[in-house]
């Protein structure tokens, strides 16, 4: 029985398994002790010592075997219009040009428009696709091809109606910077399985992300749970390339001497932290060769490149999606791809055309590709923005805006695929104006609870103690959306 199996086998794993773990897995008290996150993860407060460095990212078993081992979150930053892509509302076409009834709009807060703004009908045609007959806009022809592999949630609702707070809230469960992100929780709970790559990778295409690094921050958790940016310019990972003039032989010789001297130091002062540093230099060296290997998309077949619509030499959303698949193959736990640019305050049609052109093909290809490689079952793919857009038109001569839609927190659509999510399902519904959720509302906390569930965690038990309080990703909220689980 492996350490992890034993953890599963225990009905009340808190104590017994810990004891067993400490005893059988060769880690005694008072030695370089066990990573304390176990303590927290299983809500025990037995002991905990700030563990030696090397513990924090060891692979760990979750509360129960989760279907998903990896997550790829395609974050459509800026918030795409659900009314033109997913949530078809013919009633809006009828109401076009008129204000919505006061009963619908009462009590809402808006970013730019007034609540009595006129209605704007759907801007694209919709059709039904796949065996599931899911309804999708013509703006997403490629996604239409994989509808039977995805689950659309049309009843998303958030509390935030501005970009930075909305994005940070979706990622961290709190609207201001300072808390750990979803990816950090995943690492904290599961550790890392990638030998030579960071376990939590962040890429971005399109414009910049409103919430900035707070979106992939580890908040009050140790900083090694933070997302690592892969960049489109220069080194994909900062400083992964040796300086000019340093050839591989010199780099190796340098590392050998560094290790030799660090070892000698360890022998004198006995600080186990030096051992960690030696390991980190060795891993850095491996990273220097694994990163270029990862980035070398020329090794992919033409079919694959075409399926994504990826030019290996140019940064693009398609390239990021293909890289994400390659990362998953190499054991990366959590990948964020931000595509910012959906903030259509004006010209919603033009905005959707260009953003769909940039993302639709690759998003669908990612699902297809993971599926054909047998990776979709263990990889959870999430697609969506931080909120939705209003059924009402945004137009403001003073700001030069017309035919746009404003921020809409009350209802929007996301889709998920793989990793324990039911395929070919459409979950939840909005009213005939697409304004409010009327069936199976899914709050952001519910989404977070569901993602953690897919990874094998009870979101109420995955806690981290900070400032005298046990924090959860879902704060005091959240229900797992069981209906969408496979």
């Amino acid at each position: 029985m492996s350490c992890h199996d034993h953890l599963y086998a225990c009905s009340t794993p808190r104590l017994n398994s810990r004891r067993w773990f400490l005893k059988e897995c060769g880690l005694g008290l008072g030695k370089v002790a066990l990573a304390s996150m176990l303590t927290d993860a299983f809500s025990s407060k037995l002991l905990a010592t700030p563990a030696s460095a090397s513990e924090a990212l060891k692979p760990r078993a979750p509360h129960f075997p989760g279907k998903a081992k990896h997550v790829i979150h395609l974050f459509m930053a800026g918030a795409p219009s659900q009314l033109d892509l997913f949530d078809y509302k013919p009633e809006l076409a009828k109401l076009q040009g008129k204000p919505l009834p006061p009963s619908v709009i009462a009590g809402q807060r808006y970013a730019f428009i007034r609540s009595d703004a006129a209605v704007l009908g759907p801007q694209f045609k919709f059709g039904r696709h796949g065996k599931s007959g899911a309804e999708i806009s013509e703006a997403l022809p490629h996604l239409a091809g994989v509808v039977d592999d995805i689950c659309m949630i049309k009843s998303m609702k958030t509390e935030q109606f501005n970009h930075a707070p909305g994005q940070i809230f979706l990622n961290t469960g709190f609207a201001q910077p300072g808390r750990p992100s979803l990816g950090s929780w995943a690492l904290y709970g599961l550790g890392s399985e990638s030998q030579d790559l960071p376990a939590y990778v962040v890429m971005s295409t399109g414009g910049g992300v409103s919430g900035g690094s707070a979106n992939w921050s580890s908040g009050f958790m140790p900083s090694l749970y933070a997302g690592v940016r892969f960049r489109n310019q220069g080194d994909p990972i900062l400083d992964v390339t040796s300086p000019k003039g340093v050839d591989p032989k010199l780099q190796r010789a340098s590392l050998d001497l560094i290790e030799e001297m660090n070892h000698a130091r360890l022998g004198i002062v006995g600080d186990p932290e030096i051992e960690s540093r030696i390991a980190s230099y060795e891993m850095a060296y491996r990273l220097q060769s694994s990163a270029p290997d990862l980035m070398d998309l020329k090794k992919e077949s033409k079919e694959t490149l075409d399926m994504y619509g990826c030019d290996p030499d140019k940064p693009s959303f398609a390239r990021a999606c293909l890289l994400a698949r390659r990362m998953i193959e190499r054991g990366v736990r959590f990948v964020n791809i931000y595509h910012e640019g959906w903030d259509a305050h004006s010209d919603v049609v033009g905005n959707l055309k260009s953003n769909c052109a940039a993302t639709d093909k690759a998003s669908a290809a990612l699902v297809k590709d993971l599926k054909q490689r047998g990776l979709l079952d263990e990889t959870l793919v999430i697609w969506g923005g931080e909120f939705g857009r209003t059924p009402m038109v945004e137009s403001n001569v003073a700001l030069g805006r017309s035919l746009g839609r404003d921020h809409h927190p009350a209802a929007f659509t996301m889709w998920m695929a793989g990793g324990g999510i039911k395929a070919g399902l459409t979950h939840g519904a909005t009213d005939e104006m697409g304004f409010h959720v009327v069936q199976d509302e899914v709050q952001i906390y519910d989404l977070q609870a569901t993602i953690l569930h897919c990874l094998g965690f009870d979101h109420e038990r995955l806690t981290y103690t900070y400032q005298g309080r046990q924090f959860r990703l879902t704060d005091v909220h959240g229900k797992v959306v069981k209906a969408i689980l496979a």
Partner: protein, 1224 residues
């Protein structure tokens, strides 16, 4: 050895280990450390006396207080367990939870032992069951009498007697008695003293954040005097670098950064506050004053500029500038943050928990949280000029020159050029590629949108007959043009390829006369785009205006005709602006004027004045129709939805306080003249306003502007219809008429005219015969807060009153004599009414186009006035305008409940009775000496800085959930001593580093590692990886590159490209500093919240987004990559390599040179041999051409390049050693 075995086991357990780190920030269950660590010595037999604080309270707090603790709302069964008297009372059920000494009568025992799901406590749904051991502790505690003890941290500290120790020779300071007594109790011995090299390096790094140079180290090592160490410490505490090192720690708590955070994340200027901290620490400002000045410096009597700068502490909160937000919502979050920082930094309390409900564990009521907030919540948040003498002198100099020029202005009626200008106003506009134009009232033309790539504009005029000798083209900035114009390219630039002019004479035969230009002049031309290119006959050259300081400027060009053209009454002038450069480099807003060269250039001064006066009269005559009679009103009441309005002595109204995105100002007037027909709104500049006003916009929109969406008038509660609106100035089409058009989105704005007075006049449809009360409602609604700043109201009974740019004085004179004859008389008969003449002439000089050239010269000079640096500060609100603080249900901004008064949690000493309960009172309370927390919290954090771990490990939580102190008496002794030493941080730091405890060797044996793995018992000296800034600072110092300059604006050292731009919404172009600024200490690096400096972030530096009491000390491959490959460290290696090459002695000496620069101590013989061999190997590779010195050195200078390169590779190794980045 044993250690290796352990590590191998770790590896076997989980081979796939990517990153590792020490988890310094995590917090553990209270008491856990002492329980585990000391388990060896503590008997667990049933008879042993249970300790309430370390054993019982943690269990109660962790499992019971949530429902049976301080929070009344959450309390179940009317049972409260955190207070003994309450716990002994019968609960709702009648049962008694705790019956001291009687387990069988105690319901608590029954309930925790129960196996019945419905009875067992804690309820299974809590998912926090008790362990058998925990149950046992509770039972024994009750059996032993259920004694409670007050929480240690909430009781004032006392200085106990120094504990007795056996080894009397070891202690060097009182600290050591506590430490040694404990070690002796545990049967342990302290470690040997650290060797002198280790010690000197340690104390340098701790006190000034920099390692010693080899020379400094040797000076200490060779000094055999018993006072040597103390002298060293004193010297370091006197070093200006001391302030830099210790300021950085305070900056972490204060969440300091150089940008606003959130989406836009724009730059802010608050570095003067950072410098204040450095200076305050350097002069050892006692901590009580340090506290008072930062929280309430502005409230001190006769507050100095420095004391006001200090209040920047709580201006380090983030600011959300997203368009859609509610500013007051984010102000509320800033207040929450202020409470959080204050309670963490001074009290070590997790007060944040009480934002939503009464604290579950600590005795902090929900209401008390908001009472604490109320102490801090009565300030406005202005930006302040930091006046300094150097800049002040320069300003004074320039201002004197400007004043002289201004007084000379009336004598500068433009005769030198002899050109008079006329702005005929276009009558026709044609675009070759379909741009559409609007004609504006000032004779200019605006073309909005990006438009076609290239274009040719054809503009036609029908000017008055004259002698045409010049053509002037003014390019005007305009918000209605792409990015503010004047060009449409996005950068504001345009390229005028060619300008053509022809005159078409209508008549029986249409004759066309083409002009030829002989000369072109411009106030500014872009390099390579000279204005002459616009008349060179080539369309592939042209005039452009890009360049410093940006293209969005008013620019003008004057083209001289080779031969004058005579214009007839029937002539049409046709101007063609050919713009073929491409990429939308076309004009967005411009104005053309026609010049007339006066015949005789040899005018005398008398002629000049005569002509000036003549033109002045002509100009004034044109002003007469809009010179109306105005009566100034003083409001009877002035209120606003959110801002606070105060009526000034001059009857104007000043708006301050909190602005929202929809503010209505309501003004009421009585005692009005009969027959009112118009209202005038006079917008006035004020230096208290951003950009000097007249609006209040301070962020997101143009500073100092406003946006008047709607202007409403009521007479005796009856709405008056407004028909006509005019203004003296408007930003493009955002004119006064937009304030009466029933469209809330449109409005009047004066962007571009900040710092000046502007008027808008609103005419009534019908006169109001007699009114008791006139009410004005002014609504300012925009996607950002855009309220009026300072303004005054006038009324008129004149028909057709119109807005004028004339001063009130001039208006009154003209309105008193609406008569051209009188006007001419005034200027011809110069013997009388000189005052009036002077006023009117001044208006001519100030406003007429005739003086625009000279005025522009003055404006340019004004633009060169050096600005004082600014900083963000607090300013207590004026009496009568206090801000009310509410309790917010569930901590929700949208659920304000009852108002609360300022106060502090009741379990702590109260605020002083006889003083106003404000920030000053709160600050004084924190450092009154009676507060049990402040001294302990401070001393604990200093301990943590030196030893890597606080005596209370949870530096930010001294409450029930925090960890218990490992050495409680020591902590209390230090806390009391701190106050005794006059709150001197330097004295206390000296006391700590003088201790034998601090001076121990950090070498750890396997036995010690097993017995005290985390060094809680202080069996050895600290050994810790350096903080991010210190890692870089040390490398810079070692390489000789470090700039020692103190303070000033933040700098931009090298970092990989794209860190602050790629993937960041508020992208910042990181303009890497050059010269010494490239090598400043880390705390001066520009801190961008959404994209922190990469190297700092990699080494666990903060983002400045939240208060940070403790940093992680992780150990990751990304750190290795940074040290190995980053430009910063390569530059250090090169500098070190070059310096080594230049030193005397042989190669052994050079190895030692580099080694000691990095590690301080001399190398061992073995190390030296090994390093030398590496050098020789690399040198051979460089010599053979296998490696290229020019590449490693990045085009290095000097000779012996191969040697330099080889030494660089060696320096790189030494900069990467664990020992180099570690304090040991």
């Amino acid at each position: 050895m044993k250690l290796r075995v352990v590590n191998q086991q770790l590896k076997r357990l989980a081979p796939a280990d990517f990153i590792s780190g020490v988890l310094k920030r995590r917090i553990f269950a209270p008491g856990a450390c002492s329980l585990i660590l000391l388990a060896a010595g503590v008997a667990s037999a049933a008879t042993a006396k249970v300790d309430f604080s370390s054993e019982v309270r943690p269990i109660l707090a962790g499992h019971c207080f949530k429902c049976h603790g301080p929070d009344e709302v959450a309390r179940k069964a009317k049972l409260r367990l955190d207070i003994r008297e309450e716990a002994l009372k019968p609960a709702k059920s009648g049962e008694v939870a705790i019956f001291p000494g009687k387990m069988d009568k105690s319901e608590l025992v029954a309930r925790v032992s129960s196996t019945n799901e419905d009875d067992i406590m804690p309820p299974p749904a809590m998912k926090k069951p008790l362990t058998p051991e925990e149950k046992n502790v509770l039972k024994r505690w009750i059996a032993q009498g259920a004694e409670y003890k007050p929480h240690w941290a909430f009781v004032a500290p006392k200085q106990s007697q120094l504990p007795k120790v056996h080894d009397k020779s070891w202690p060097k300071s009182p600290v050591d008695h506590f430490v040694l007594a404990r070690l002796e109790k545990e049967g342990l011995k302290p470690s040997a003293p650290a060797d002198k090299y280790t010690l000197v390096r340690r104390v340098y790094l701790d006190l000034i954040g920099l390692p010693p140079t080899p020379m400094q180290a040797d000076a200490f090592v060779k000094d055999a005097s018993p006072k040597a160490y103390e002298q060293l410490v004193d010297g370091l505490l006197d070093s200006p670098h001391y302030g830099e090192r210790w300021a950085r720690r305070w900056l972490d708590l204060a969440r300091y950064a150089d940008t606003n955070g959130y989406e836009k994340d724009r730059e802010r200027s608050i570095w003067p506050w950072r410098d204040w901290v450095i200076n305050a620490l350097n002069r050892d400002l006692p901590f009580n004053q340090f506290t008072v000045e930062q929280l309430a410096g502005d409230l001190l009597p006769g507050a100095t500029q420095d004391q006001i700068i200090a209040t920047g502490l709580h201006r380090n909160t983030m600011l959300n500038e997203e368009g859609g937000i509610d500013p007051l919502e984010y102000r509320f979050y800033a207040m929450v943050d202020r409470v959080h920082v204050t309670s963490t930094a001074w009290l070590g309390l997790t007060m944040a928990c009480a934002q939503c409900h009464t604290h579950k564990y600590d005795p902090i009521q929900h209401t008390e949280y908001y009472r604490f907030m109320a102490c801090l919540n009565n300030a406005d948040e202005p930006r302040m000029d930091v006046v300094n003498p150097q800049i002040g002198e320069k300003r004074k100099e320039l201002l004197t020159r400007i004043a002289a020029l201004e007084s000379e202005l009336p004598n500068k009626f433009p005769m030198e050029s002899g050109v008079t200008w006329q702005i005929p106003g276009a009558v026709e506009f044609e675009s070759k590629n379909g741009s559409e134009a609007r004609f504006l009232d000032d004779g200019s033309v605006r073309i909005s949108g990006t438009g076609p790539e290239t274009d040719v504009y054809t503009i036609k005029f029908t000017p008055a007959a004259q002698h045409l000798t010049h053509l002037q083209l003014e390019a005007l900035p305009d918000d209605g043009v792409v990015n503010g114009g004047p060009g449409r390219s996005g950068s504001g630039n345009f390229v005028l390829s060619e300008v053509k002019l022809e005159v078409v004479d209508a008549g029986s035969e249409r004759a066309v006369r083409k002009a030829r230009f002989s000369k072109a002049q411009a106030d500014f031309s872009q390099d390579g785009f000279k204005v002459e290119s616009a008349i060179d006959g080539k369309t592939n050259t042209g005039w452009g205006i890009a360049g410093s300081p940006g293209s969005s400027k008013h620019r003008h060009a004057i083209f001289t005709l080779a031969e004058p053209l005579e214009l007839k009454e029937t002539s049409t002038v046709v101007v063609r602006l050919i713009q073929t450069y491409g990429s939308h480099h076309t004009l967005g807003r411009f104005r053309l004027s026609l010049g007339h060269q006066l015949a005789d250039p040899a005018f005398t001064e008398q002629h000049r004045h005569e002509l000036r006066d003549q033109k002045c009269v002509e100009w004034l005559e044109k002003q007469l129709p809009s010179a109306d009679n105005w009566t100034q009103l003083r409001p009877a009441t002035a209120t606003a939805t959110s801002p606070t309005l105060t009526v000034q002595e001059d009857n104007s109204i000043f708006a301050g306080g909190d602005f929202t995105k929809n503010d209505t100002y309501t003004l009421k007037f009585r005692n009005l003249p009969a027959g009112l027909k118009a209202v005038r709104l006079e917008m006035m500049p004020d230096e208290r306003l951003p950009n000097n006003g007249p609006g209040s916009v301070s962020y997101e929109g143009p500073e100092g502007d406003f946006w008047l969406s709607t202007f409403k008038v009521k007479a005796d509660a009856r709405s008056i219809t407004l028909t006509n609106a005019s203004e003296s100035f408007a930003n493009g089409g955002n004119n006064a008429a937009k304030a009466i058009d029933d469209d809330l989105q449109s409005g009047w704005s004066v962007n571009g005219g900040q710092g000046k007075t502007h008027n808008a006049v609103f005419q009534f449809t019908e006169g109001v015969t007699s009114t008791n009360e006139l009410q004005l409602d002014l609504i300012c609604e925009k996607y950002h807060a855009a309220g009026l700043g300072r303004f005054r109201i006038w009324v008129s009974t004149d028909d057709h009153a119109k807005a004028s740019a004339l001063s009130n004085e001039a208006l009154a004179i003209l309105a008193g004599h609406k008569d051209a004859v009188w006007l001419r008389g005034l200027f011809t008969n110069t013997n009388s009414a000189a005052d009036q003449r002077a006023v009117l002439l001044n208006e001519f000089v100030r406003l007429s186009p005739a003086f625009s050239g000279s005025r522009r010269e003055i404006e340019n000079l004004r633009g060169q006035l050096p600005k004082f640096p600014t900083t963000l500060v607090m300013q207590e609100r004026p009496a009568g305008h206090e801000r009310t603080t509410f309790r917010h249900n569930r901590g929700d901004f949208l659920q304000p409940k009852e108002a609360v008064t300022a106060g502090v949690p009741s379990f702590l000493p109260p605020l002083p009775e006889n003083a106003p309960k404000n920030r000053l009172a709160l600050a004084q309370w924190l450092v009154s000496g009676a507060n049990p927390l402040t001294g302990r919290v401070l001393m604990n954090r200093h301990w943590e800085a030196l030893f890597g771990r606080g005596l209370v490990r949870t530096t930010e939580d001294f409450g029930f959930q925090g960890e218990l102190p490992s050495h409680p008496e020591l902590l209390d002794w230090l806390a009391v001593e701190f106050v005794k030493q006059g709150w001197s941080q330097k004295k206390m730091l000296k006391l700590l580093v003088m201790s034998a405890t601090y001076q121990q060797s950090s070498v750890v044996t396997p036995e010690l590692l097993e017995r005290d793995p985390l060094n809680i018992l202080l069996t050895r000296g600290p050994r810790l990886r350096l903080e991010a800034e210190m890692v870089r600072d040390s490398a810079l110092l070692a390489s000789g590159l470090l700039s020692e300059k103190l303070g000033g604006p933040s700098v931009y050292p090298p970092q990989p490209s794209g860190v602050t731009s790629e993937g960041t919404y508020g992208a910042l172009n990181w303009a890497t500093s050059t010269g010494p600024d490239r090598y400043r200490r880390g705390l001066y690096t520009f801190a961008k919240r959404t994209a922190p400096y990469a190297m700092t972030a990699t080494f666990d530096g903060p983002s400045g987004e939240a208060c940070l009491a403790r940093r992680d000390r992780s150990n990751t491959p990304l750190q290795a990559l940074s040290l190995l490959n980053d430009t910063v460290f390569m530059e250090c290696a090169r500098a070190l390599g070059q310096a080594a090459t230049g030193t005397g002695g042989g190669d052994e000496a050079r190895v030692e040179f580099i080694f000691r620069r990095c590690l301080t101590r001399p190398p061992s013989a073995e190390e030296q041999t090994r390093l030398l061999r590496f050098y020789q190997t690399q040198l051979a590779r460089f010599a053979s051409g296998e490696l290229k010195a020019s590449e490693i050195l990045d085009a290095g200078t000097g000779d012996r390049l191969n040697e330099q390169a080889a030494w660089t590779t060696l320096a790189r190794i030494l900069l990467n050693l664990d020992e180099t980045v570690t304090k040991s």
